[in-house]
């Protein structure tokens, strides 16, 4: 149906932090960092300097160079571990935040949820020794290191606005993670993106973690009342009235999400989906520990 009537404004175009966000973040980060340390294996050595100095072990990731596998530990424990070096301890992460217009939807907004999640991931990563690059497409990337003031990060993320960039599609064309980047976390609704589009950011030994954030009404649109739906980034307008249209939408949404779930079975790629109303702690735990959402 041709578009008629006014296009509504974005309901949540700016970042609004969850209630008590700073305090919750300060409580969450040390707990999460400690859990990561326990999961990746205790390194008894102290970090003394840069280079290939051995500082401990971590679980083997699919696709990694088998030469880094600790065969002796495998024989003793029957578990695949790789030797963790000083260089690796100071690994590089990238946290990519989608700032396209569609991220301004939802209550709370998807952009707010992505920003909160990005703050949590970056802070946990920096506390674990990683150099974390926060990439938004709308602002120059911000590098976060251990001990860096949290305020810079929150200022950057809190100033984001939906529609300020082309979002993920633009970044896929314009930005590449460094070769040392061991983890790329993509936070967005992934609308207009297919799993194969992200292959440009994949490489052996790197984890590509996709944290898909959808608005509550995108996951469960209202069934009975007639609604004229507008595409926030295009001209598409469609109408729904009654359960039939909504059921059809839900079937297609399910199929679309199933494609992402199937794609996430390939090595080095993880995917989870959640509502923008979900607590950032829960989403961060899923992203960092590999549990499915």
């Amino acid at each position: 149906m041709a578009g008629s009537g006014p296009r509504p404004a974005l309901p949540s175009p700016r970042v609004e932090w969850p209630e008590g966000f700073a305090a919750r973040l300060e409580g969450f980060v040390p707990r999460m960092a400690a859990r990561r340390e326990r999961r990746e294996g205790a390194g008894g050595s102290t970090v003394l300097g840069a280079g290939e100095e051995f500082i401990g072990h971590r679980p083997y990731r699919e696709g990694e160079d088998l030469r880094r596998l600790d065969w002796g530990l495998l024989a003793r424990s029957d578990q695949p571990f790789v030797r963790r070096t000083r260089r690796e301890a100071a690994e590089s992460w990238a946290v990519v935040v989608d700032t396209s217009a569609s991220m301004g939807l939802g209550t709370p907004g998807k952009l707010s949820a992505a920003a909160a999640l990005a703050a949590a991931l970056a802070t946990v990563g920096a506390r674990g020794g990683a150099r974390v690059q926060v990439v938004t497409g709308a602002t120059p990337p911000l590098e976060v290191r251990r001990g860096a003031p949290l305020g810079h990060l929150l200022d950057l993320l809190g100033g984001l606005a939906a529609g300020a960039s082309d979002g993920l599609r633009g970044l896929l064309n314009s930005w590449r993670p460094s070769s040392a980047c061991g983890l790329v976390a993509v936070l967005g609704d992934l609308v207009g993106t297919e799993p194969q589009d992200l292959s440009v950011w994949e490489r052996p030994g790197r984890e590509l973690v996709l944290a898909q954030v959808l608005a509550p009404e995108e996951l469960d649109p209202p069934g009975e009342e007639p609604v004229r739906w507008f595409d926030p980034e295009g001209e598409e307008v469609r109408s729904s009235a009654g359960e039939a249209a909504v059921k059809g939408y839900e079937r297609r949404l399910e199929a679309w999400l199933e494609r992402w779930a199937r794609a996430a079975r390939r090595p080095g790629l993880r995917w989870s989906v959640g509502s923008s109303a979900a607590p950032f702690e829960d989403r961060a735990r899923v992203v960092l520990e590999g549990d499915r959402g």
Binding site: E218, R228, D231
Partner: protein
């Protein structure tokens, strides 16, 4: 099956209104959706309405509502029968016209008590002194309590289910099966008799003679009355000092001929009939018609009622025997029948009637007794259905 409270079905209008309101869709709202591409276009198969299935929980809830409403409507099994009106036996004795409270007459207060108990009817009012006289309505005509005095009903005849007694003072005995609406009332002062020589009044405690309130009676003789009878009545009136009434208006004594039936009219005119008294004989050519009222002792052809002397013997007649004895008999009948007026009420009628009494009797024969057997199971079923609906809704079953 019928329903005692059919208006209860109106409760079903509430969910109907709710459903209708939900069917009236307003203008579509405009909203943004990032995944709008997943929404089926109009006309796409995905947008086609699937076969509508009523959710089990809603179906159970609707059924519970219908069953519950049916219970509230008080269903009754059995054939529909017309309601039998109450029979109200009305005491028309003079005391019923006396005041009970202020200016309110005893009959009016009694009717009010009856209406409070039975509603406005219609009821079947029966004149207790004249059972053939009936009236169906909310109250008997006003004329029932006017005119010459009437006797109190023979209450024993009317002590039966579905019947009420409407009177002023509760009878000494009964009723056992009938209901009772007695207005009660205080003793009422006033005249208890009046005549050409003076009046006798009740002052609340005793009788007082009032010679100055002489009141001659009035009489009227109807055409067709045998001449000898009319002459005797006129002689009685002259001696007593009574006066003839005009052609119109009330008369204290009305000498009337009994209307003749066709059978009596067609009887053999040559046949002689007679009325006999002590020392006299009245012979007529026609068959005497039975006169209504109290016979005065010499056959059915002459009878008295308050204010009326009935003659059943058609003119011409011949008086045989002692004419004086005949005149005395007629005078005695006239004395007893003469009605001095509505303000003259016998002393026993003026006595206090006590307090108001309302005492229900046995129900009307054929009146339906409430049968709650249907309501209880229906309410139980409604509760079970509602519980089932709740369980189905919680279980997420469609």
């Amino acid at each position: 099956m019928r329903f005692e409270q059919p208006l209860a079905w109106l409760l079903l209008a509430l969910p109907v209104v709710a459903v209708l309101r939900s069917l009236v869709r307003g203008a579509p709202r405009s909203r943004l959706l990032a995944t709008v591409g997943l929404m089926p276009r109009a006309g796409e198969p995905a947008a086609a309405a699937p076969r509508r299935r009523v959710p089990l929980s809603r179906a159970l809830l609707a059924l519970a509502l219908v069953v519950g409403t049916a219970a509230l409507a008080e269903p009754r099994l059995g054939p529909v029968s017309e309601p039998v009106p109450w029979m109200v036996v009305v005491d028309r004795s003079p005391s019923m016209g006396l005041p009970a409270e202020g200016d309110l007459a005893r009959h009016a207060l009694g009717l009010r008590l009856l209406a409070d108990e039975l509603g406005r009817g219609p009821h079947r009012f029966v004149a207790g002194d004249e059972p053939g006289l009936e009236f169906l309505g909310s109250a008997p005509p006003r004329e029932w309590f006017e005119g010459p005095p009437r006797d109190e009903p023979d209450w024993g005849r009317f002590d039966q289910p579905g019947t009420w007694w409407l009177t002023d003072g509760a009878p000494a005995e009964g009723p056992l099966r009938a209901g009772l609406a007695a207005s009660g009332g205080p003793a009422v002062r006033g005249l208890v008799s009046a005549g050409p020589l003076g009046a006798l009044a009740f002052d609340g405690e005793q009788l007082v003679l009032r010679p100055g309130e002489a009141r001659p009676g009035t009489y009227r003789i109807e055409p067709g009355i045998p001449g000898v009878l009319a002459a005797a009545v006129e002689a009685w009136a002259e001696v007593r000092g009574h006066e003839p009434a005009g052609a119109e208006g009330a008369a204290g004594l009305w000498v009337r001929a009994v209307p003749r039936s066709e059978q009596a009219v067609g009887s053999t005119p040559a046949e002689a009939h007679a009325l006999e008294g002590r020392g006299w004989r009245l012979v007529g050519s026609g068959a005497p018609e039975a006169a209504a009222g109290e016979p005065i002792g010499y056959g059915e052809g002459l009878a008295i009622q308050p204010g009326v002397l009935w003659s059943g013997l058609a003119a011409p007649v011949t008086l045989e025997g002692d004419a004086a004895a005949f005149a005395v008999a007629v005078a005695s009948a006239c004395d007893r029948s003469l009605w001095p007026g509505p303000d003259v009420v016998a002393l026993d009628e003026r006595a206090a009637a006590g307090a108001s009494v309302v005492r229900p009797g046995e129900p009307r024969p054929g009146a339906e007794t409430p049968s709650p057997e249907l309501e209880v199971p229906l309410l139980l079923a409604a509760a079970l259905l509602a519980a089932g609906a709740l369980l189905a809704a919680r279980g997420g079953r469609p």
